[in-house]
């Protein structure tokens, strides 16, 4: 028997190689230069920027519809995966910028922190580019394990440990579902390749029960990673307990990565089962939006509130997924980019205002901050209005995209539920601006310094996100074309 070794196109893998190399570099640098904690952050940032440039320009300029397929069909680089990688890298880059001050003030070891961040990013990138269920699983594991560690990174804080443990237990449980789903699909179709499963289902009976059960299990596994209701229970505790920059990171990148894999698997492998999964996801979308928004209404802890808000946003994105069509998938891409920018921007300010040990974290603590920190508050208001979907911001454009997709596809009811939900969400986003601008502080927050020191890197992160939010809101044409070029099913 002749063993053929597939030709491997390594150029399709450059961004991933760069991220991996920088993660290892940081680990080693930390051993040899113990004192220079900040430098590690800068190294990580350089790595992310390098990878970002590579994603945009390699193997060919972004925007052309080239598809590179390598590793014998395990790995694919198309515009879809490249756009998602763009989102991940922007998210990671911003997170690193936010973390530099945070790591220093909380006296945490920087080396493992940044290395883990990059490893999680690597996992996400693998998820976006996989054309096979096995690498998707590898990617999810790499990402999740890094995140379990990062969640518990504030070792001295009880709440952080609790969050990490919860996340780890529930996360491994969910991964089990995913793996079982993959196994069943493999058992039925004899392959884990996405294209292979697609052609198997097309040529066989679509009422195959094993495939159905496998699909349901996959849905549960992905639902957990997306924090879709009813698989969202871990989210509030984990988001509240994790260090603030990690919460920012988790709410954007990993969620986008889960969507990347989820959408690819369902649209490319299981489109024939469309009639089976659409009604289920319709309900999941409605529940996710409504439960997320309604529970967020009563939260006092801002991190927890934004955790529920991130659940709700996953719901909006699911609306785009249900809608599908030539607006649906691009809508998901656009929304995830917008969400990454506005949410990380908001968390940057929350990290900044939180001060050492995240003392200022409830809505009440924000009373009167609007005039004490005018620029930070204006920026936070901008991000909150964007999250609420008020024009002319990225959040509005994203919602506009998603809901027009829903209406075009005939899901009028879903669109109406969606917009009404965004009205509900306005209430709790406004609650923060109300506290900042319209209330006077009752008591001084214990231990908080009267004036916070300027943090240049964090300010840069805020500036980038604010620019992105306004740019995507007012002049999004370039990005609209990009997402339309990145559409998965309408090439």
């Amino acid at each position: 028997m002749e063993l053929s070794i597939p030709t491997i196109n390594f150029s399709a893998l450059y961004p991933e190689i760069v991220i991996c190399a920088f993660a290892l570099l940081i680990l080693m640098w930390q051993v040899f230069a113990k004192q220079s904690q900040n430098v590690l952050g800068y190294i990580g940032f350089i790595g992310v920027v390098t990878a970002l440039i590579m994603v945009v320009y390699m193997p060919s300029s972004f925007g052309s519809r080239s598809v590179v397929d390598t590793f014998n069909g395990l790995w694919v680089v198309d515009n879809y995966s490249r756009f998602f990688k763009l989102i991940f890298l922007i998210g990671t880059g911003l997170t690193i910028l936010i973390s530099i001050k945070y790591i220093k003030q909380e006296v945490m070891p920087a080396g493992e922190y940044y290395a883990m961040l990059l490893m999680a990013t690597l996992g996400m990138m693998i998820m976006a580019s996989s054309a096979d269920l096995m690498p998707i699983f590898l990617g999810i594991e790499l990402m999740s394990i890094s995140l379990y560690v990062l969640t518990g990174y504030a070792r001295t804080r009880m709440i952080s440990n609790e969050a990490a443990l919860k996340y780890f237990l529930l996360g491994s449980f969910a991964t089990g579902f995913l793996l079982y789903g993959i196994a069943l699909l493999y058992g039925a179709s004899g392959t884990t390749n996405i294209a292979g499963i697609f052609s198997y289902i097309r040529t066989s009976n679509i009422n195959n029960h094993i495939i159905m059960i496998g699909m349901a299990l996959l849905l549960i596994g992905f639902g957990f990673k997306l924090a879709a209701v009813p698989f969202h229970m871990w989210t509030p505790d984990v988001y509240e307990g994790a260090p603030a920059p990690i919460t920012a990171f988790m709410s954007a990148g990993p969620k986008a990565a889960a969507f990347a894999a989820f959408v690819r698997v369902f649209l490319e492998a299981l489109p024939a089962m469309h009639n089976h999964w659409v009604p289920v996801i319709w309900w999941i979308a409605v529940l996710t939006m409504s439960v997320g928004n309604v529970i967020a209404l009563v939260q006092d802890n801002i991190k927890r509130m934004l955790a529920y808000s991130s659940i709700a946003h996953a719901g909006y994105v699911l609306v785009g997924f249900v809608a599908g069509g030539k607006l649906g998938t691009p809508g998901i891409l656009f929304y995830m980019l917008a969400y990454t920018l506005m949410n990380i921007g908001a968390f940057a300010i929350i990290t900044y205002l939180g001060d050492v040990g995240e003392k200022r974290i409830t809505v009440k603590d924000y009373a009167g901050l609007g005039f004490q920190y005018p620029i930070a508050s204006v920026a936070l208001s901008l991000f909150l209005f964007s999250l609420a979907g008020i024009p002319p911001t990225a959040g509005f454009m994203g919602k506009f995209y998603i809901f027009s997709a829903a209406i075009e596809a005939g899901y009028l009811g879903l669109a109406i539920i969606g917009v009404l939900n965004s009205v509900v969400s306005v209430y709790f986003y406004l609650k923060i601006t109300v506290a900042m601008y319209m209330k006077t502080p009752e008591t001084q927050v214990e231990g908080a310094k009267p004036a916070l020191a300027f943090a240049p890197m964090l300010a840069l992160a805020v500036l980038i996100s604010a620019y992105g939010v306004v740019r995507l809101g007012i002049f999004p044409t370039v990005y609209l074309n990009l997402v339309q070029n990145s559409n998965l099913i309408w090439p």
Binding site: F396, S422, Y437, M438, T477
Partner: protein, 513 residues
Amino acid sequence: MNLAQLPILSIVTYLPLAGIALICCMSNKRPDLIRWTAFLTTVVTFIVSLPLYFNHDASTWQMQFVENVPWLQSFGVSYHMGIDGISLLLVMLTTFLSPLALLSTWSAVTERVKEYMICLLFLQVGMLGVFCALDFFLFYVFWEVMLIPMYFIIGIWGGPRRIYAAIKFFIYTMSGSVLMLIAILSLYFMMYKATGEYTFDILKYHQLHIPAATQFWLFLAFFLAFAIKVPMFPFHTWLPDAHVEAPTAGSVILAGVLLKMGTYGFLRFNLPIFPLATQQFVPFIFWLSVIGIVYGALVSLAQDDIKKLVAYSSVSHLGYCMLGMFALNVEGIEGSTIQMINHGLSTGALFLIVGMLYERRHTRLISEYGGVMKVMPLFATLFLMVCFSSIGVPGLNGFVGELLILIGAFKASVPFASVAMLGLLLGSVYLLWMYKRVMYGPITNEKNKQLPDMSFRELAYLVPILVFIVWIGVAPKTFLNKMHTSVTHLIEQVNAEKTIAKTMDYGTEHTHN
């Protein structure tokens, strides 16, 4: 480049942004400099907007001063601005009222002047944009954008219950407008199916024929958004809260301009785009308007807070606007439009007057006053004039609007018009009774003995309004002429569709036979 080529609408709309940029550079410690900059910005905006009025060609209903450049091409969104005779008057009202409202804040707002001025100027951008936008997307952006500054104006500088009022204002308005967004998107795809073109151009929708059943639902969605804004009974509950809590300038802008965005929306969207549904909804809207007129007046009668009284009188006055508009004849719609301007002027002036009293005594309760006329004779004269204007005494602006509306309404429906007349009567009762209790009689309250009469600054912002109150009252033709062709065209649009629908119905019946 000559004057005609300048994008004058954009200049007028975005000029306040230049003021904001200047103010942002100024130190918080120099409030007077900030006030003057803001004031001058609005004055310059008004002056720049004057050519709109003088160069406007009243002989055509076509949109003028049009700017149309692609914005988001993949969605068919364009930056399309333009005005006709109806929006012209509302744009002028906005640029005219803004400097006056700003003047009134000189001594009323002493804290956080910088942020306050930024909010007011930003609000002006939003309002002008709404009246000029001829693209659904653009319109929606402006429509929502102006919620933010108004929310802050009420919430930061308002009265004791300001937070409640601000949030209520925001959520109420937003819940209406998101449904409008859904309707806009539905229209958008309907347009695509009919013509194969993705566009948000409002004028193109005026030509779109929509089946009657669909019109009904779309009309309803738009109706909700605009009825909340107007506000029509029973969607009015946010208004008294917002008005009472807002600072004077906020109330003036709110009553003067913001509410007109609702009535304007009906004129620009509901009537021409959904003519069949418009006909269907006439009785329903007549009912709500007449209930609003009488209810607003009766509730005004029962108020002991002057500002609340004026706020509820708005509900009543806007009821007239809606009644006239849905009479669907030239008199009715012209009356309704002129009444929008009138209400902006006279209710704006009433809020300014309440503001003056409040600044002197820090109370708005009628019982706290009495005999003020003796210490403030000049104030008393102007106050009475404004009351007369609001009541609709002949020779002043209110009369013109109400007369036209009632003529229109009588042509459409005698019973409804008759009940609406009752509102006129009640209007004079609550205003004059309030005037009597505040101004006449002996001075019962010691604190009122030393009240100073109007200052020069106060005169400076009240007298220009009075000039127009008399002008419209004596020579309404100046303003009616500007909108006449636009209104006639609007009515043609409503009726044309009706005839088309009739022939179509006839056609189908015919084939069935």
